[in-house]
Amino acid sequence: MSNASVLFDAPGPRARRLSRILSVVTAVLVVAGLGWVIVTLNTPRESGGITLPGMFDPSRWDIVLDPEMWGFIIGVGVWGTLRAAAVAAVLAIAIGIVLSLLRSSEIAWIRVPTAVLIEFFRGMPVLLMMLFILLVAGTGQYWAVVSALAIYNGALIGEALRAGLVALPRGQREAALSVGMRPLQSKMLVEFPQAFRQMLPIIVAQLVVLLKDTSLAYIVGYPELLRVTLNNLGSYYGNRYLFTLWCIAFVLYLAMNLSLSWFARWLAKRTDRRFHPAKAAPEPDEDPNQALLVADATAAAREAEGRRP
């Protein structure tokens, strides 16, 4: 059903004209709506006897020309966000690898507690984990943010990798064992590298989510992009500039996240081509949550198949 055109007739001249007219009408409506929003934002308002300038008034935007502000936003805000995200990403992948290996262990004493632990971390809001680490471990804001993000995303990546391990063709392991490898050797040298490569798109998509989630650090008071713009600069320049600063933060977040998502999409396409070269690449599932759900279910089905005599 990825090709929606089967749903309706090939449009004839009349339907084509109708569709074109409707297209133009909606486009006009949308432009008019956006124009209305901009005009409404831009009208000066009376508040307590003072006339406040509109949102796009030059007096609200003159800080854009201030090089010192940009230095602060980039040097403290963007740097703080990227620093937390990068360290958390590396740690999350490491935790994910460890958890996936423990989770797929043959020994029930290791496997079951790890599964419970993963479920526990997956079900909790990251924000709560940040607060917990901040208050209980007393690590300071930076490490509270980084370790909460690392643990939460590590649990998700671990689950994805485990699903990847289970979904591998059984012949891989059988072949490794039959050439005399020990079970651990087979897992580390044969199975795990394949599972990692197959799950790479999910992992990168999860890292996009991680980058987005660094904004939660605003709430626990770590100076990242959002806190730097809305709080620090907001109180430095005054409330008048809050809207401007919000817009700046919005654009910077979009730029960072969009470039990472495009990278994730490109990677998913490339991986898919390599593993199924004959098949035309289907649209990859961009939401790591959904992709993980499918991978998990496939793994569970595969496991159930294996148990059946």
């Binding site: 749903l7 909790m124 809001p125 208050l135 979009l254 998502s261 961009e286 759900l293």
Partner: protein, 216 residues
């Protein structure tokens, strides 16, 4: 542990606010998400473009930014909306594209031969979609939708975290500040209430999805 038991009414109050945010935000997101999903498969190209742009922008914006817009910027613009309503709107706007994607992935899961067969029997667009595609897609959209709602449950904590609504996370933070000696017990109590919602939903989603994978 005593602190948790002594403050159980407070916890339950916070939990009910969380559930309220979840229910109203989720319902709003469901409506908005269905509209977006419909726009994305519609024959009118402008609608498709609008829906795609909206999805792309919202999915690459952090929820905190959206909530702060509703809680900080909108009052500056002169709105008198209560913060909890603003929070619900923020959650609905943020979650809608994820719902739309879940619906779309369900529709994409229906084999194209089904639609082709319906078309070749002379069904129109409305008939094909409502009689053939949607009934089959519905089953496949349930697990992804549950997944979206799990994420939404966890996201309600952001609305409390920004500091205007006293839901489960807000209650936990207040209690933790008031009782510095029992922080661990208090926060584990908060986590428990979140897990009560998320873990059963997660198990249900995997169960349903597994059934579906096997059938396929």
């Amino acid at each position: 542990m005593d602190v948790v038991i002594a403050n159980l009414p407070l916890y339950l109050q916070g939990f009910s606010v969380t559930l309220l945010l979840l229910a109203v935000g989720g319902a709003g997101a469901l409506v908005l998400g269905t509209v977006i999903a419909a726009m994305r498969i519609s024959p009118i190209s402008t609608l498709r473009v609008i829906a795609t742009v909206y999805t792309e922008i919202v999915r690459n914006t952090p929820l905190t930014l959206v909530v702060l817009f509703c809680a900080v910027i909108v009052p500056i613009l002169g709105s008198r909306l209560p913060f909890i309503i603003a929070g619900m709107i923020a959650l609905a706007v943020y979650t809608a594209p994820f719902i739309a994607e879940a619906l779309r992935s369900g529709i994409n899961g229906v084999p194209i031969g089904q639609a082709e067969a319906a078309r070749s029997l002379g069904f129109g667009f409305t008939q094909t979609v409502s009689l053939i595609v949607l009934p089959q897609a519905f089953r496949m959209t349930i697990p992804p939708l549950i997944n979206v709602f799990i994420a939404l449950t966890k996201n309600t904590s952001v609305v409390g975290g920004v500091g205007f609504v006293s839901e489960l996370f807000g209650v936990g933070r207040t209690l933790a500040n008031a009782h510095g000696d029992a922080v661990i017990a208090i926060l584990i109590g908060v986590a428990f209430f979140y897990l009560v919602v998320t873990v059963p939903l997660g198990l249900l989603a995997t169960q349903l999805e597994r059934k579906w994978v096997v059938q396929r």
